[in-house]
Assembly symmetry: D2
Homo-oligomer: 264 residues x 4
C-alpha cells in the first residue's frame, strides 16, 4: 500500500528538519582510560524534507536507532547518520545526543575516590555531499561538556579583605575538532580555569586544601570564560569553540552568565 | 443527554482525587502593604469520586475557576472550594495553587530598592463536614513559601581560619495556622535564620556589609532548619509546620538537605 | 574606590555576552483588545565586553531593570536596551524575556468563555550603530509565541477508515517584522493550521463540534509547519520566520518535530 | 581534631531528615529476563539527627555510596541503608533512588523489537529497630514505576459515534510488597488497564492494529486507575499501593489526574 506520506506537496516549502525528539535509549560511551561505560542517552534524530514530498516515515528513525550499536563517539555517530540518511532517502541527516559522563576524582589530601557526573552531548550532521565514510567531507560534529566548578569572587575578596562569596558554577565547553578530543580533557580544562574543581567526597583536610587553593585563585565569570577560550585558541585540534559559563551567585537569587564563540 | 460519566461503576473503589492539573490562570494576591498584585498561578483542582460513580465532569473544574475571582488567600480559597464541591456534587474538594510573590528589598548600605521573587503555594481542602463558611470545620490550608538565602559554612570557617565556602540555599517554610500569616513574615523568618538574606541589587558597599554580616553568622543547614523551627514553635498562630532547606553546596555538585515537621 | 572590574585584561579576548539570567520581575504586556495585563517575566540581560576590559558591573543589570517600566513590546524593549547599553558603557546590549500571555477563548457551541495560557518571548538586541531611537537601525527583535494545538493524524485515519490517533501539539512561531504584530495574530495563525484549536472549557456539545472539525482536517506535523510558513510568506510585515512544531504522539512515548526557517 | 559537627545543640529539636540530594551515580538494575543492566541513578540519602547533636558528617553519605555496589533492588538497598546508618551513627537511614528502566517491546503485527523507557524509583527506610538483615523488621520499601500508555476517551466516542480524542497518559504505580515484584509486572499491569500500550516503533500495519484495539477499549482516567487498583487488590504480594494517572488531554492544554491509595 502506498503511504499517504509518499504523496506530493505543492507548497514548495522544503523543511529544514523533520524527526523525533526525546527518544531515550541505552548507549555506550568510550572512556579515556580504555573501556566503555553503559549509559542511557536522549536522542533527537532529524532528516530534511524536500519541497515536493508530503511527509517523512517517522517510524524509520527509531528503527535505525534500534538496529544501531549506539556508541557515543564522532566516528560511530557518522555511521548512524549515514544509515539514517539512507533509510529516509533524505539529502542529509542530523542527531543530538545527550548523556551523563562520569569522571573519576581523587580528593587532594586524603585520596578519597569518587565519580563526578558531567552532562555531555554530541550534535552531528551528515550533509548532502558526504559519502558517510570516516572523515568524509560534509560531516560536522560538536561536542559539548558541561562541567561543574567552584568560583571565588575576586571583587568580594578585595572589598572585604577576607570574607568572599563562593558559588557553584557550570562551564559548558563546546568544540569542533580534528582528530580525537576526550571528554576528560574538556573537563580538566574547565576545572583548571575555575577557582577549584569539584569533588563529590571531601574530608575535612581535603576541604581545607580546596578552599585555600580556591581563595588563592579568585575568578570572575569573565576570567573563567577567557581562560578556557585562551587554551582552546592554542589547541591545534580545535577548529571552533563556544564557551558558556553560569555562576549560581551565592549573594543573589539570579545567575550570572558569560559567553564567547570563535571560529579559527 | 445523560452523560456516560453519570453511569454506575460496580468495582467498589472510591477514588481519593480526580481532577485537573497544570491549569495556568490569572489571579491576584494580597500584599502585606495593603494592595493586591496581579499574578498568574498554576492550579490543580480535585474532587473525590464515590465508589458507585463512573466518572467526573472534568469541564466543571475550569468553569469554576473561570467564574471565580481567584484571590490567593485562605478565606477566598475556601469559597472557591465550596463552589467546586457544589459543582461536582463531591463530598470534598481540594486545590493546590503555585505562584510567584515579590518581596520588596532595600540594600543595607546604599538603599537600592529591588524585588525578590519567592515561590509560594497554598494547598487547601474542604472536607465532607464543612459548610464552607469562613472558619468552618473541615477546611484545611497549608501555606508554603520558598525563600532563597545565603549560607556560610561554619565548618570550613573553622578549618581554614578564613576562607569559607558560601552558597545559595532555599528554605521552604510550610505552616498551618489560625488567624492571618503574611507571606512576608515567613520570608523574614527564613532570612533571619540564614547567614544573610538575598538582595537582587548590591553595590560594592552593600556587598561588603552583607558578607561581613554573613561571616559573623555561619550556619549549617541543620542550624538553619532548627532556627526556623524554634521560632515557629513559639508562634501561637502556627498549629503545624514543616521546614525543608536545601543548600546548593559550592564545593559539591550535589545539594544538602534537612527537614523537620511538627504538629503542636 | 576603583573597582577591580575596571581593570585591564590583556588576553585580547572580547566576550560576546556577559550578564544576568533567570531574573524574575513584574512586567506588563499590552493586549490587542486595548488594555495591558500585569504579568511576571523571566529576564536575561547581556552586554558585550571589550577585549581590554576586565569585567562587567553586574549589579547594573538589575538596577536598569528595576528603574524601567518593563512593558513587554518591541518599542519599549528598545528603550530598555538603550538604558542598559548606557549604564554598561557597552557597544551593544541584548535581552531575552519570557512570559505567559492569556488569549480569550469562546467554546464553539455553548459559548463558554475561558483563557488559554501561551508562552511567549522577545529576544532583542540593540547594536553598536544604533541611537536607540524608535525604529533605529541596529535594533533587532524576534517575537516567539508557543501555541498549544490539537492534531489528528492523516495516516492513521487512512489506515483504519475511522479510529485515528489525536494528540496535543505545540507550534512555536518566531518572527522578525516591520510595524505591529499582535501575539493573538500568531496564536490564530497556528490554530488555523492545526486540526483544532484548544479550549480550556468544552461542554459535551463543544467537544463533539471540535472533534468533528478536527477529523475533517487531519494534519501531519509537516503540514502544520508548512501551513504556518506559507501564511507568513504572504504577510508583508514579516521579514524572517522560524516555525517549530512538536507533537506529543499519543501512540508513542517520544515526540515528533518539524522546523522551517526563512529570511525574506 | 574534633569536628564542629560533633558539638552539642541545646534547642531540643530532632531533625527528621538530614542528608544529600541530587547525587548522580552509576548503578545496576536486575532485569526479569535474568541479567543486569548498567544504568545511572539519582540518589537522595538521609539520616535523622538526634536533638542533642549539632550536625551530620555529610561527606559520609557519598562515601557510603561510593563503596557500595549500588544494585537497585530491595534486598541490596537494605544493605546500603544498614551501611549508611552505621556510618552516620544514626537511629535510622533512608534513600530515594530514581532511574530509567528499559522494557523490551515487540510491535503487534510486524514484530519490530524496541525498548520502552520507564521511569522507576525506590523509596527505602531502615528504621531504628532493624538489624539490617534480609527481611528484618523495620525495613520499608516502596517501588514506583511510571508507565506511559495511550487512552481513548469513551465520552468523545459516544458523543460523536466515531471521532474520539486519544492521548498520551502516564500511570505511576507504587507498591509495598512481600517477596519479589518485577518492574515489568507493574508495566504490564498498567498497560493492560489502558486503551493501548506504547511501542517505540510502529509500522503501518502495527499502528492500525493498535488503534483498532484501543478504540475497542476506551477508558476514562478513572477507569484506568480503578482497573490497576482492582488488580493490585487481588495480588497477595501487595500490602499497600498508590495508583496515580495523568492524561495529557489532546483537546486541552491542561492535564487530567486521578489517584487512589489503599493499605491492605
Amino acid at each position: 500500500m502506498a503511504s499517504i506520506q509518499d504523496g506530493h506537496d505543492d507548497r514548495e516549502i522544503a523543511l529544514d528538519r523533520v524527526g523525533v525528539v526525546n527518544v531515550v535509549y541505552p548507549a555506550t560511551v568510550p572512556e579515556r582510560g580504555g573501556g566503555v561505560r553503559s549509559t542511557e542517552a536522549t536522542f533527537a534524530l532529524f532528516g530534511e524534507l524536500a519541497e515536493d514530498a508530503r511527509g517523512t516515515h517517522l517510524s524509520r528513525f527509531v528503527r535505525v536507532l534500534q538496529s544501531d550499536e549506539r556508541i557515543l563517539e564522532p566516528e560511530h555517530l557518522e555511521r548512524l547518520l549515514s544509515s539514517l540518511r539512507d533509510a529516509l532517502g533524505s539529502a542529509s541527516a542530523s542527531a543530538e545526543v545527550e548523556f551523563t559522563y562520569f569522571v573519576p576524582k581523587v580528593s587532594p589530601v586524603s585520596g578519597e575516590k569518587s565519580l563526578l557526573a558531567c552532562e555531555a552531548s554530541y550534535e552531528a550532521t551528515l550533509g548532502a555531499g558526504s559519502t558517510g565514510g570516516a572523515g568524509a567531507a560534509g560531516f560536522d560534529v560538536v561536542l559539548t561538556v558541561d562541567v561543574p566548578v567552584m568560583t571565588v569572587c575576586p571583587c568580594s575578596l578585595e572589598l572585604t579583605s577576607g570574607p568572599a562569596h563562593t558559588q557553584r558554577g557550570h562551564v559548558a565547553v563546546s568544540v569542533r575538532f580534528n582528530g580525537q578530543v576526550w571528554i576528560e580533557e574538556l573537563v580538566e580544562l574547565a576545572e583548571d580555569c575555575a577557582s577549584a574543581p569539584m569533588f563529590p567526597i571531601l574530608r575535612g583536610e581535603d576541604e581545607r586544601a580546596v578552599l585555600e587553593a580556591a581563595y588563592a585563585k579568585p575568578v570572575f565569570i569573565e576570567d573563567l570564560v577567557r581562560c578556557v577560550a585562551e587554551r582552546l585558541d592554542s589547541d591545534v585540534r580545535v577548529t571552533w569553540y563556544r564557551v558558556e559559563a553560569e555562576n549560581l551567585e551565592s549573594v543573589h537569587e539570579h545567575d550570572v552568565y558569560a559567553c564567547v564563540e570563535r571560529e579559527r
